[in-house]
């Protein structure tokens, strides 16, 4: 094993030295690597003699300590001329500079009237302060001071080789000071709005750009407060300016833009499930940070990410720390068990931050997991460092990777070494130079080395991939000998086949589902467990979406894995054409968005950051490429299976992203509509009637989508027999329930997102919605920008997409809550036409229910098919360039 490890080291070092761009920046032990290249048998210099399981520490961005020459005497020649060359920044400097100046370029958007001459350079003297209150003066001065120091930083950093990073640091600082200033008036709405208006009116253009930069940064952190601050100006400015401004402010720029999106981490072998243990009880009041979302999306490039959140009832009052901890451990543990029962041969990886890391470790002692990754491991406790004789962690046998910050308060690299010696499990340690407990590097480090946090995070992920790849390849070989995994092997083969050519796989696929009836149970339960990704209200749909979208990163490998999952679960044979439907709809939406975008002349560079739209878009883009293959042979029975899964999943991301965008644009112009709009409450029971039809629609769509797969997986798409299918499908009642949950969630999703929309009554009774066929949603999508009144109509579409994605896309994010809560009953109850369904559903006589729903189906399918092919045809261009997608409206059915 040790030998293997060394070999792997050799390989990775060779690979990484050659390829990883980011690696170049990290001051890695390059010499060590070189030694390994030549002498792979050599023990690393840092290997501990006693602890064979502790692999040598790796360092990231740890600056080697300069050796102090003991004496500098006069005889040492002093060179006063030669300037030491500065290292070339790792990010794309040109691109970084261009995003850096985004605000400067678009500063004019903020002006209330663009025609007025810009304020002169000596604008300060012209500010008329008469009538200002003390508080106003104070606030203005504070803000001004912050902006002035930002100006100084800009000027001083101008032309520096790592100017983008320096600028980013300076802007962050300015934003912090502006935030402090605003906080000093307790974010008084009137004052902040006044300040915004005054600044926009009086500041000179360079200063205004600095102000916008600060706003942009703050918007990413405290969107609600900033939105409130901007409201007044928006109403005054008119829609165009407001929209432009809101687009500009949508997300802070990152110097490392491009680098990260171009160098995505690759998938881990064995398609592991990555369980993320939360580091504390989650709360919906404090949403996850931008960085955590980024991490989640990046991790989901490696495998499927399943966050495990813990919730405390009654907002945690009266719950002791110990109880809470037990609760957390219990949650993770049960999740692990659950996954094991559903995916017996999937490797499970536990990842946690801080306390979550500890939880992960503890769970790994109790349950079998393949590996654990501890980010920011808290080694030190009030009672001293961990690792006493009675510490259960010492019994760990799971391979574990510790990532700690060099300047961490809860951990010290040397103490960590001691601890690692005592652990029996194979373990690795990565020390991130200059980083704190949360692996955040300091400002000074950023400045001096031209780094951004996203780059560091990315390097940490590379280390994680490295470690996990080693563990997984080993365990894969190991497990492969066990009889039970022959299945997996077979699937692997199938996957390989799929990789080669999806169409060729048809016969095999066709034969496959015939035998394994045993797999059927796996399907519902599988969906259930995956669905519990979002079983917690905190793991907001948004996050979920990100995960889904990126999890399906559509390299061929990704698609193949997805495929595998499909086969395994024997569900969701979606006809290809159906699968296309959402995609085509999405095209429209996409196009609309592009239009908007074009209108606003804002370039949307891909950004590695989560939560923003940009990262999803490239993913979607690729998804469509992958989908192109099966589109060629829609008549074949097997191939659509793959096609069915993938594009739909994509649409999930896209749809909600679209919805988000929509609301982003619309809330600003129609802020008052929210009371009348769809309720934002999380409980399904309050899903208002306007959303209900869409729910039904979803339901139906979903049924259509899933049903064929379960009973007649090998059957050609034309041979969809709804009734039978439904029977098969619903055999596992859970499946239906998950479906309903999916619905509920998408409803919540939509309802919360469309809170700004006016509450129009739903367009027609539910059954009609089904028979509306495709054009309607398409039209409504098309109408997004044209009028607000049609906006409600977009809801059904979005819902459809997302819930579809939730199901067959191999990512049934759906959740049991709806059924268990009786949410469906309430939902349906709000729509008289649906009452019967709901009754039956709540009585769990699902088969009948669904039969009822499906009556309209065959016709629907036929209507859809031309649409589908149409969409399929226009896929190729999508993959090439997104911006051009505006011209690519799918042909009318």
């Amino acid at each position: 094993m040790a030998h293997r490890g060394a070999e792997r080291d050799f390989q990775t070092s060779a690979r990484r030295m050659g390829t990883s761009l980011l690696f170049q920046l990290s001051v890695h032990e390059r010499e060590l690597d070189l030694v390994f290249l030549d002498h792979s048998y050599a023990k690393p210099w840092s290997a501990h003699p006693d602890a064979s399981s502790a692999r040598p520490t790796r360092t990231l961005f740890v600056t080697p300590r300069r050796q102090h020459e003991s004496t500098i005497e006069s005889d040492v020649p002093i060179d006063v001329e030669t300037v030491t060359s500065t290292p070339v920044p790792l990010y794309d400097n040109q691109k970084a500079r261009s995003v850096m100046n985004e605000c400067e370029r678009h500063v004019i958007f903020a002006r209330t009237d663009a025609d007025a001459p810009p304020p002169p350079e000596d604008w300060e003297e012209h500010v008329n302060r008469t009538g200002w209150t003390v508080a106003q003066n104070k606030l203005f001065n504070k803000t001004l001071k912050a902006l002035q120091s930002d100006r100084l930083a800009r000027l001083a950093n101008e032309g520096a080789c790592n100017e983008p990073v320096l600028r980013r640091v300076a802007v962050d600082k300015c934003a912090r000071r502006v935030r402090q200033a605003l906080a000093s008036v307790s974010w008084d709405t009137k004052l902040t709005q006044w300040l915004h208006t005054t600044l926009v009116e009086t500041l000179s253009l360079p200063m205004l750009a600095a102000y916008l930069d600060a706003l942009q940064t703050l918007k990413g952190k405290i969107p609600t407060l900033i939105d409130r601050m901007l409201v007044s100006s928006n109403t005054k400015t008119g829609a165009a300016g407001a929209e432009a401004l809101s687009l500009l402010l949508k997300r802070p720029w990152d110097p490392a833009v491009g680098v990260l999106s171009h160098n995505k981490p690759s998938k881990l072998p064995g398609s592991p499930l990555i369980l993320v243990a939360s580091s504390g009880p989650s709360s919906s009041v404090f949403p996850t940070s931008r960085r955590h979302r980024f991490w989640q999306s990046q991790l989901s490039c490696l495998g499927k990410v399943i966050p495990v959140a813990t919730h405390l009832l009654s907002s945690g009052s009266g719950v002791g720390v110990l109880q809470c901890l037990e609760h957390m451990i219990g949650a993770v543990r049960s999740k692990v068990l659950e996954i094991h029962s559903h995916f017996p041969h999937k490797p499970v990886i536990l990842i946690g931050w801080n306390t979550g890391a500890l939880v992960a470790c503890h769970v790994s002692v109790m349950e079998y997991v393949t590996a654990a990754v501890c980010l920011g491991f808290p080694l030190l406790t009030v009672d001293g460092p961990r690792g006493d004789v009675d510490d259960p962690l010492l019994d760990m046998k799971t391979p574990v990777l510790f990532v700690i910050g060099q300047n961490s308060l809860q951990c010290h690299p040397e103490a960590m070494e001691d601890f690692r010696e005592k652990i029996r499990a194979e373990n690795s340690l990565v020390v991130v130079g200059g980083a704190d407990d949360n692996l955040r590097i300091s400002k000074a480090k950023k400045k001096s080395e031209g780094l951004t946090q996203s780059m560091v995070d990315r390097c940490i992920q590379d280390e994680i991939v490295d470690f996990l790849t080693g563990v997984l390849t080993r365990s894969e070989g190991h497990v492969g000998t066990e009889p039970r995994d022959q299945d997996a092997e077979k699937k692997k083969k199938a996957r390989d086949m799929a990789r080669r050519d999806l169409a060729f796989e048809v016969p095999e696929r066709g034969s496959r589902p015939a035998s394994p009836a045993a797999r059927l149970p796996a399907s519902p339960s599988g969906s259930e467990d995956l669905s519990s990704v979002s079983s917690s209200p905190t793991s907001s749909p948004k996050t979920k979406v990100t995960t889904v979208a990126s999890a399906q990163k559509s390299s061929q490998v990704g698609s193949a894995q997805l495929l595998k999952r499909h086969v395994q679960r024997t569900e969701a044979v979606l006809t290809h054409k159906q699968a296309q439907v959402p995609v085509s709809a999405e095209h429209v939406e996409e196009a609309e968005k592009e239009d908007l975008r074009a209108q606003l002349k804002r370039q949307q560079p891909p950004s590695p950051l989560p939560g923003s739209k940009a990262p999803k878009r490239p993913k979607i883009k690729v998804a469509l490429v992958a989908q192109g293959d099966p589109a060629g042979g829609p008549s074949q029975g097997g191939a659509p299976e793959a096609a069915g899964g993938r594009p739909v999943t994509m649409t999930l991301g896209q749809a909600s992203a679209g919805a988000k965008e929509l609301t982003g644009l619309l809330t600003t112009s129609k802020p008052s509509a929210s009371e009348g709009g769809v309720s934002t409450g999380p409980a399904p029971s309050v899903v208002p009637s306007s959303a209900a039809p869409s729910g039904l629609h979803t339901l139906q769509n979903r049924l259509v989508a899933t049903s064929p797969g379960s009973s007649l997986p090998g059957g050609p798409p034309s041979a969809v027999r709804p009734l039978d299918c439904v029977q098969g499908e619903v055999e596992g009642a859970a499946s239906a329930s998950s479906l309903l949950q999916g619905l509920s969630f998408s409803l919540q999703d939509i309802s919360s997102k469309t809170s700004g929309l006016p509450a129009n009554p739903s367009p027609g009774p539910a059954p009609q919605a089904t028979s509306v066929k495709l054009p309607t949603p398409m039209q409504s999508l098309g109408a997004i920008t044209t009028g607000t009144s049609t906006l409600v109509r977009t809801i059904p579409v979005a819902t459809t997409l997302s819930s579809l994605g939730a199901g067959p896309g191999g990512k049934p994010t759906a959740i049991h809550q709806l059924l268990t809560n009786g949410g469906l009953a309430k939902l349906a109850g709000s729509l008289p036409g649906l009452a019967q369904i709901s009754n039956q559903a709540s009585g769990l006589k699902v088969p009948t229910t669904i039969t009822l729903t499906l009556r309209g189906q065959p016709s629907r399918i036929t209507t859809l098919s031309p649409m589908g092919t149409g969409a399929g045809l226009c896929e190729e261009p999508t993959s090439q360039a997104l911006p051009s997608s505006s011209q690519r409206l799918p042909p009318a059915p």
Binding site: S74, V80, E81, V83, A156, G159, A160
Partner: protein, 371 residues
């Protein structure tokens, strides 16, 4: 040769009892101010200079003579200022020499021939320091009228007046990009100004005595300031945070500071007849240059890197001193001035030294060397 009669009325007699000035002997200058104001601005060529070398000192020769001494010889004496000269600076493009004086004007001279070019009028008090922008198109001047002025050299117009200091402005410096100016003042503060708007962006107040010198490093990221409180501070230009404070053991007043051309070292002059070269990143003194006299005035010093590597400084014994940077030996003393040599500047590309003296002398001398 250019003869100019300076028109205009003599200013009010300068009060002698002002706060002690350190760079120039204004009291003497004040006496002169009552006298006649007509004078000749001119450069006299030193003919028959015995030290004139044959022009054949080849570069190969130079490298061999690494340990040898420079042979600076007086080439021109520039006469024009009516009072003590306070500062001379070569323009970065090497074409011009600017000099500031207690007579409230700045004079621009040709750097190679000492030819008078123009006079910049505008300050209504004595000028203590000037500096060129990197493109040699602008000058900034620091004056006792508590302002700084930015001048367009070509037109001779004052572009901006920077107001904000509450006492004499004593030193000033452009950053390498010339979008910022720093100034040190008798109000014990250092201010950072935006060139374009003329606004003060930051005031650094961390000295407890008049600030005697300020300087940006070569990439503009750091500022060094020296003060009579004996402390040298290094500031982050972008944030205005103090990064380091260098203090000598016996804490003599700092009269001059300057980054080395590559920004790695700092040359510090103190009023105990000493110049020291510091490695500021490690906070240690590497070289000490002594032998000259400097106890009273803020005398400029310089790195001379065009030929051999020298340190050049004026002195209160009316000489210009040249040290070998590495060995710390005095390699040449330039004799000729009749008063304290307050300023010595080195040409950016040629082996030319300009030196300026106080009120008994009022002249600028250009020295050239083949090595």
């Amino acid at each position: 040769m250019f003869v100019r009669n300076v028109a205009g009325t003599p200013g009010p007699p300068i009060t002698i009892a002002k706060k002690p000035k350190y760079r120039a002997a204004w009291s003497r200058a004040g006496r002169l101010a009552d006298q006649t104001w007509s004078f000749i601005a001119m450069a006299t060529e030193e003919s028959g200079d015995a030290k004139a070398e044959p022009a054949l000192s080849s570069s190969t020769n130079r490298s061999q003579k690494a340990s040898e001494k420079p042979d600076y010889a007086l080439k021109f004496t520039l006469v024009g200022h009516t009072e003590a000269v306070s500062s001379v600076k070569f323009s970065p493009n090497g074409e011009w020499l600017a000099s500031s004086s207690a007579d409230k004007v700045i004079i621009i001279w040709g750097a190679y021939d000492g030819k008078y070019e123009k006079t910049l009028y505008g300050h209504n008090q004595e000028i203590s320091d000037i500096d060129w922008s990197s493109d040699s198109s602008c000058l900034v001047s620091a004056s006792d009228d508590k302002t700084l002025k930015i001048w367009d050299v070509r037109s001779g117009k004052c572009l901006k007046t920077l107001k904000g200091h509450s006492n004499y402005v004593f030193c000033c410096n452009f950053n390498p990009l010339s979008n910022l100016i720093i100034s040190g003042s008798f109000d014990e503060s250092v201010k950072i100004w935006e060139v374009k708007t003329g606004k003060c962006l930051k005031t650094l107040s961390a000295h407890s005595d008049p600030v005697s010198a300020v300087h940006f490093n070569c990439n503009g990221s750091l500022i060094v300031s020296g003060s009579y409180d004996g402390v040298c501070r290094i500031w982050d230009a972008a944030s205005g945070q103090c990064l380091k404070a260098l203090v000598d053991e016996d804490n003599p007043p700092v009269s001059f500071v300057k980054f080395s051309p590559n920004g790695k070292y700092i040359l510090i002059g103190t009023l105990d007849n000493t110049l020291k070269l510091w490695d500021y990143s490690r906070g240690r003194c590497l070289k000490t240059y002594t032998g000259h006299k400097n106890e009273k005035y803020c005398i400029f010093a310089n790195f001379s890197v065009t030929g051999g590597k020298w340190i050049v400084s004026g002195s209160e014994d009316n000489l210009v001193y040249i040290w070998n940077l590495q060995t710390k030996e005095i390699v040449q003393k330039l004799q000729g001035h009749t008063d304290v040599v307050i300023s010595a500047a080195c040409h950016p590309t040629e082996n030319i030294i300009a030196s300026a003296a106080l009120g008994n002398d009022k002249t600028i001398k250009l020295w050239m060397s083949n090595y």
